[in-house]
């Protein structure tokens, strides 16, 4: 869990939105990785990369490892940066396979999808990097806002003579017996 940082108007609060985005990307990574491992042959054929099934499966292992890291780590930031590095590797691999490829359409769709997820990873990594690992002092100091002008000792129990409570309390017959 990280916290909203110095440039946030709510600094000091847990940054739950970015954390949820990061964990979501982690689960996506695990799902994609498992698909690459289990259907490496089919994916390689669909991308016109016959003969590179092993590479696809290796990338799948990388995805699963990164995803597990994101989902389980206290601080997912380094793992999200790891995803971005992996995305770059994917894009380079797809670009290298473009020349003379028989399934260029599928390759371009795959590249566009990877680019989209890379953008999401980058947004997430940027937000995580701007947040902080420990809560910052929050805005406003309310430590002295007691509400008791005469002090809490004077006020504690001062209103046991409350007026107007008739009919809104526990009926006498239902009161607890003395212990």
């Amino acid at each position: 869990m990280r916290y909203e940082g110095p440039r946030s108007p709510r600094r000091g609060h847990p940054d739950t939105a970015t954390d949820a985005l990061a964990r979501g990307l982690g689960w996506f990574s695990i799902g994609l990785g498992l698909a690459e491992i289990l259907a490496g042959g089919a994916i390689a054929r669909a991308l016109g990369m016959r003969g590179q099934e092993g590479l696809v499966r290796a990338y799948g292992v990388r995805e699963v490892a990164t995803g597990v890291g994101i989902v389980t780590a206290e601080d997912p930031t380094p793992w999200i940066w790891g995803r971005i590095a992996g995305d770059a590797l994917d894009l380079v691999t797809l670009a290298a396979a473009y020349e003379g490829n028989s399934r260029k359409d599928n390759l371009l769709i795959a590249a566009a999808a990877v680019a989209g997820v890379t953008a999401l990873d980058a947004i997430c990594a940027d937000r995580l990097t701007r947040s902080t690992a420990v809560p910052m002092p929050h805005i406003g100091n309310y430590r002295t806002r007691t509400g008791y002008p005469r002090g809490i000792r004077e006020s504690r129990g001062a209103a046991t003579d409350v007026e107007g409570s008739e009919g809104m309390l526990t009926p006498a017959l239902l009161k607890p017996w003395a212990a």
């Binding site: 108007p9 806002r145 509400g147």
Partner: protein, 390 residues
């Protein structure tokens, strides 16, 4: 005059609207000197509470000076009087008002047939709070018409400032009633969900009423800090299990008294049940998110009391009636019978037992009201309570 006007979900604007006029003999008009944004205004802002119409004037926490008096006021008020306006409009004469159950006044809701359809029987008219409760114009404005004003007012002494008495209109008596109806005993642990303005008032009220230990549950750091300043122990539900911590604090027995000052919009992503509630809300299978009710019912000690000042609007799902029945829990709830408590509370403010102005974090003009709704809703900038000075 200028007023904060509802135009739709998340759309409140500072508009110029016609000045209010005396419509009934028992009306007065006040020039508003101070008003506030209430947590329950946020239910209207987010449009989770039905019954709002475009053009409705917001606000039910207001005070000011009487500038016009209807013919039927009969000396109860005169021009120049300084009054706080309770959020519940009361006739002062019907059976419920005479019994002190002002929030279920039988006469002040001019749309009582709609309220009766929704709730079985009518409830009181409320300022600036949907057409279910009369569709009366609210007080986040330069002027306010106060119906049944000979009964619907709280006179306040000149020795107290506007900021000290403004919250007699709602949040102070609301937190007070929530604590009083817990029937607090000197041995009691009182757990209070929500460290917003009503939660803060409930903390101070529980301390004044002599609770042994007050615990407040929230996840907003500055609100928890203010709760601690008021004498409460705190639990941050983002960091730790509420149920485990409350049981630890009470030798495994649970708190005797539990107060829900959160209501229908419990944090939507903090727990699985709230996420399911949120999904159901989206497809109209449920109107409110009752996470706090479920948690209170679970952790409350047997034969304890659940006090619910938090606003609920309609239907909740997975309400743990089995826990409530088998543990013999008592539920007390309701809109606040403001005038039942205010004479006593004015006396306590004068005596220095409490000063409700501690909760104010933002003071703005009417023109900044729309932006402050957003700031308050998003809990930004350390915002806990906004006072508007028109």
């Amino acid at each position: 005059m200028r007023a904060l006007v509802w135009h739709g979900a998340q759309d409140i604007r500072c508009d110029t609207v016609p000045d209010p006029e005396i419509e009934q003999d028992r009306d007065v008009i006040i020039k508003v000197s101070a008003c506030a944004i209430c947590g329950s205004d946020l239910h209207l802002y987010d449009h989770v509470m039905p019954g709002m119409e475009k053009g409705d004037i917001m606000g039910h926490e207001s005070m000011g000076e009487v500038v016009e008096v209807g013919k039927g006021i009969n000396g109860a008020l005169k021009k120049g009087d300084r009054i706080v306006v309770p959020f519940t409009i009361i006739c002062g004469e019907c059976d419920q008002c005479r019994r002190g159950f002002f929030s279920v006044c039988e006469r002040s809701n001019r749309n009582k047939q709609v309220a009766a359809k929704a709730f079985g029987h009518t409830t009181a008219g409320l300022f600036g709070y949907t057409h279910l409760t009369g569709g009366y114009a609210g007080g986040q404005a330069e002027y306010l018409r106060v119906p049944y004003a000979d009964a619907t007012h709280i006179k306040v002494p000149d020795s107290l400032t506007d900021e000290q008495v403004l919250f007699l209109s709602d949040i102070f008596p609301t937190g007070w009633q929530a604590a009083v109806q817990c029937d607090i005993q000197p041995t009691d642990t009182v757990a209070i969900w929500g460290a917003g303005p009503v939660g803060q008032m409930a903390i101070r009220s529980a301390i004044l009423l002599g609770a042994k230990h007050v615990v407040c549950i929230d996840n907003v750091p500055e609100r928890l800090e203010m709760a601690r300043a008021g004498g409460a122990s705190t639990i941050n539900f983002s960091d730790e299990s509420v149920i485990e911590r409350l049981n630890q604090m009470t030798a495994g027995k649970g708190p005797e008294k539990c107060i829900d000052s959160v209501g229908m919009e419990a944090h939507a992503t903090a727990t699985i049940d709230s996420m399911v509630d949120r999904a159901k809300q989206a497809v109209m299978l449920e109107s409110d998110r009752p996470h706090v009710l479920r948690e209170m019912a679970y952790v409350c000690r047997g034969a304890g009391v659940l006090s619910i000042p938090g606003v609920y609007g309609g239907l909740v799902d997975k309400f743990p009636m089995g826990m409530i029945m088998n543990k013999g829990l008592t539920i007390r709830t309701g809109q606040t019978h403001v005038n039942r408590w205010t004479d006593d509370l004015v006396r306590r403010i004068e005596a220095g037992e409490i000063d409700p102005s501690f909760v104010i974090t933002h003071r703005v003009g009417l023109e900044d009201g729309p932006e402050m709704y957003k700031t308050f809703r998003d809990k930004k900038d350390g915002c806990i309570k906004v006072v508007i000075k028109p």
